[in-house]
């Protein structure tokens, strides 16, 4: 398999063309992936600062570093930046863009121009969202619940327009990926041979093109409510604010799977590569991604158990939500079965994968608690919910993102990430994460409501533990940043296949040439033929 590392006259996608302009006008999916890499990590840094500000404010009761008005804005920007500009584009648009075509043996995505346009949509959306800070800001939370969000605030309008435009980035990326997977697979790369990361991205793309347009119209209506007071969601004008919640969650619950499915894909790759063993249950893992995508459209009502929706609807949504646990558990059991009697290499990417299994399981199972209508009445809008979705989004998606970054970094830049730095970052992120969010389960169960600026004195100890944990996560990500810079400047040179993995991207040189492969690969075996 090993293409000898004949660096074709020493050129690769990084030095194929030079200059900033060549990057800003590039149609190469790999370079666009790198543009997303920089963008996503920049916004992660911004969103992270907001997160640390929230935790610092909650270190003590009363005013610690900011007043309640500022606090409301800070948690809004934390949520909006992290959801729309970090986690949604994080894995698909960065790692997906870079590796989807390579893993299926294509030269590029189906529509390279559209791909570049998607990146500009994200940037333009971000500019709008950030500009809202200069007109009074937004303080609605990232969910923009009506009628508060339609009380004529210019900041909210700019924020929703920003999210609307960024949404097109997501839609167009999904469209591009579906067409690429359907039409550009290399000879022999049947749908039953595509890597599980591709299956995950494919399922994600289906949600992106089916759900995001509904968010688009919803955000457009919020903007119209603010500008023209059309009254769809305004009880004062005969409208219905709960209709907004239905619209919003019809997108935003599937969006949760836009965030987590690509992470599942990364974990499948990591577990197989570092277990040095054929993945257990390829078909089951592949189709469970599709199953999650399908079920995701029928569970939105579980966000609304206390909104006054009918009891019948509540029961249906409760049962359907628990159904999500089935395909998710199928994945988890298959990963664990892969680990059984494997030759496990505990390199830093694998540590993140194992950390994922641990944290995501907690996140997933607490989701079942919340799907139980009776229990949800007690836990709704408490810190229990905050802890639950951070276990999924941070403990799940971000762990997979960093693991995937370490795993594919040698391929992207031709240099290895320092193993010690990788392990140190894992320690701080994993430990810090549990210190931050586990106490929040307890706080929530005791009744501390989310999004409040202040809390009762008896919650102070657990809040302080949580804040200290958040600083540990902060240190962990600073170490990730140092590890990346160190690897870029001084990293050990990576061979074509430093991990001995079997998927196609490891058969080309590191970094890959402009068109990914010097010769279109012909595929004769599945993606994980280890032993």
């Amino acid at each position: 398999m090993a293409h000898a590392a004949t660096h074709h006259e020493g050129t690769n996608y990084l030095n194929h063309e030079r200059g900033l302009w060549s990057w800003l006008t590039t149609l190469d999916h790999k370079r666009i992936g790198i543009l997303y890499f920089i963008t996503v990590f920049f916004f992660f840094f911004i969103g992270g600062i907001f997160a640390l500000l929230i935790r610092t404010e909650l270190f003590k009761t009363g005013v610690t570093v900011m007043g309640p008005e500022t606090y409301n804005q800070v948690f809004t920007y934390h949520g909006a930046v992290m959801v729309f500009l970090v986690i949604i584009p994080g894995i698909p648009a960065f790692l997906g863009n870079f590796f989807l075509p390579i893993q299926i043996g294509a030269k590029d995505v189906a529509f390279p121009r559209l791909n570049l346009m998607s990146w500009y949509c994200l940037i333009l959306g971000a500019v709008f969202a950030v500009s809202s800070l200069f007109v009074g800001g937004a303080d609605t939370g990232w969910t923009f619940y009506t009628p508060y969000s339609i009380s004529l605030k210019p900041g909210v309008v700019l924020m929703v327009v920003g999210a609307f435009i960024a949404g097109f980035s997501s839609i167009l990326t999904g469209l591009n990926f579906i067409a690429t997977v359907h039409k550009l697979r290399a000879p022999g790369m049947t749908m039953n041979r595509i890597p599980l990361f591709i299956w995950a991205l494919y399922s994600t793309s289906i949600i992106q093109i089916l759900a995001t347009p509904v968010l688009a119209i919803t955000l457009l209506l919020i903007a119209a409510e603010n500008i023209f007071q059309i009254g769809f969601f305004d009880p004062a004008l005969g409208g219905d604010p709960v209709l907004f919640q239905h619209f919003f969650w019809f997108y935003s619950h599937p969006a949760v799977y836009i965030m987590i499915l690509p992470a599942f894909g990364v974990i499948s790759e990591l577990i197989a590569a570092f277990s040095r063993k054929t993945i257990f249950g390829y078909t089951a893992i592949a189709y469970s991604s599709l199953a999650i995508a399908a079920v995701s459209f029928f569970v939105w009502g579980h966000h609304m158990f206390v909104s006054g929706q009918s009891e019948v609807a509540g029961v249906l949504f409760s049962v359907l939500t628990m159904l999500v646990g089935v395909p998710t558990a199928i994945k988890l059991f298959n990963w664990i079965a892969t680990l059984y009697k494997a030759s496990i290499n505990l390199a830093s990417p694998m540590l993140f994968a194992l950390g994922f299994l641990f944290l995501f399981t907690i996140g997933g199972v607490t989701g079942i608690f919340l799907a139980t209508t009776a229990l949800d009445v007690h836990l709704h809008d408490t810190y229990f919910v905050v802890a639950h979705f951070h276990y999924v989004m941070v403990g799940g998606t971000l762990m997979a993102l960093v693991g995937g970054l370490y795993y594919w970094f040698p391929k992207m830049f031709g240099r290895m990430v320092n193993e010690t730095l990788g392990r140190v970052s894992f320690f701080f992120i994993f430990a810090g994460f549990n210190v931050t969010f586990f106490p929040q389960f307890v706080l929530g169960a005791k009744g501390m409501p989310r999004r409040y600026f202040d809390y009762l004195p008896e919650f102070e100890h657990l809040n302080q533990i949580s804040t200290i944990g958040s600083y540990m996560i902060g240190i962990g990500f600073v170490v990730v940043f140092i590890a990346v810079i160190h690897a870029l400047l001084k990293g050990e040179k990576a061979g074509d296949n430093p991990w001995g993995a079997k998927t196609l991207e490891w058969t080309t040189s590191s970094p890959p040439p402009h068109e990914n492969f010097l010769k279109t690969p012909i595929v004769t075996a599945g993606p994980y033929e280890y032993r």
Partner: protein, 230 residues
């Protein structure tokens, strides 16, 4: 234009052949149309929901729409779909001058549609039939008008403006799409004048055509929902 030169299209580097590129582009266009349908879908769901709980405001509101103008626009758009399809057909037949004529007629139909829409809008705005809190219509005049069709009516529901919110949002978003569609067809028309497109390469024409048919199709749903409520 007499010395029509033909430009040959080279398929992009990551495709095996022009057919491969054509198939993929067409699939991409269909996927895009799916997203359009879902975006409008939000408005249709909102319509269904409010129509279910407040059927009377849709009945009363629709008495302020003129079904003749709506029907005229429906005919105009249906006809434009025919000319668009003929535009694609003539491109495939390599007859660019006829194809361009058809595209031009399609654009004109779009313009006629928008002009009729303009008259409808300005009439409503003149009467103060605006969306939401901008609604300023005289209650008595509205009641008199509605009574022509519903003689038993004694008062106008206070949330009648909601009907006009739907009217303006749905036709407005559709109107924006009509204008974008006209722009795209114009772009195709210009390129065809410069020698692009022909029997071997008509992806762009067909893609824009699909978009135009969707716009037409959405109007076919909007027309009865907003004009023919009983």
């Amino acid at each position: 234009m007499s010395t029509a030169k033909t430009r040959t299209h080279h398929h992009a580097h990551h495709y095996e052949s022009a057919t491969h590129e054509y198939d993929t582009s067409k699939q991409g266009m269909w996927l895009f149309l799916v997203t359009e349908i879902l975006m409008f879908g939000g408005l249709f769901v909102g319509y269904a929901y409010f129509h279910h709980i407040f059927p009377e405001i849709f009945k009363i509101g629709s008495t302020f729409t003129d079904w003749r103008l709506g029907a005229a626009n429906t005919v105009v758009l249906l006809f434009s779909s025919l000319t668009m399809a003929l535009g694609i057909y003539y491109t495939q037949m390599n007859d660019r001058s006829k194809a361009r004529l058809m595209l031009l007629i399609t654009i004109l139909c779009g313009a006629v549609f928008m002009v009729i829409k303009y008259f409808e809008y300005s009439h409503k705005i003149h009467l103060g039939l605006m969306p939401g809190s901008w609604y300023t219509a005289d209650a008595q005049a509205v009641l008199e008008h509605a009574k022509e069709k519903f003689p038993g009516l004694t008062e106008i529901p206070s949330n009648l403006p909601l009907y006009f919110s739907f009217y303006y949002m749905m036709t407005g978003l559709h109107g924006i799409h009509v204008m974008i569609g006209m722009g795209l067809i114009f772009w195709i028309w210009l390129r065809m004048g410069r020698g692009w497109y022909g029997k071997d390469h008509y992806t762009g024409v067909e893609g824009v055509g699909l978009f135009w048919h969707l716009i037409d199709l959405i109007w076919i749903y909007l027309f009865p929902l907003l004009y023919l409520v009983t």
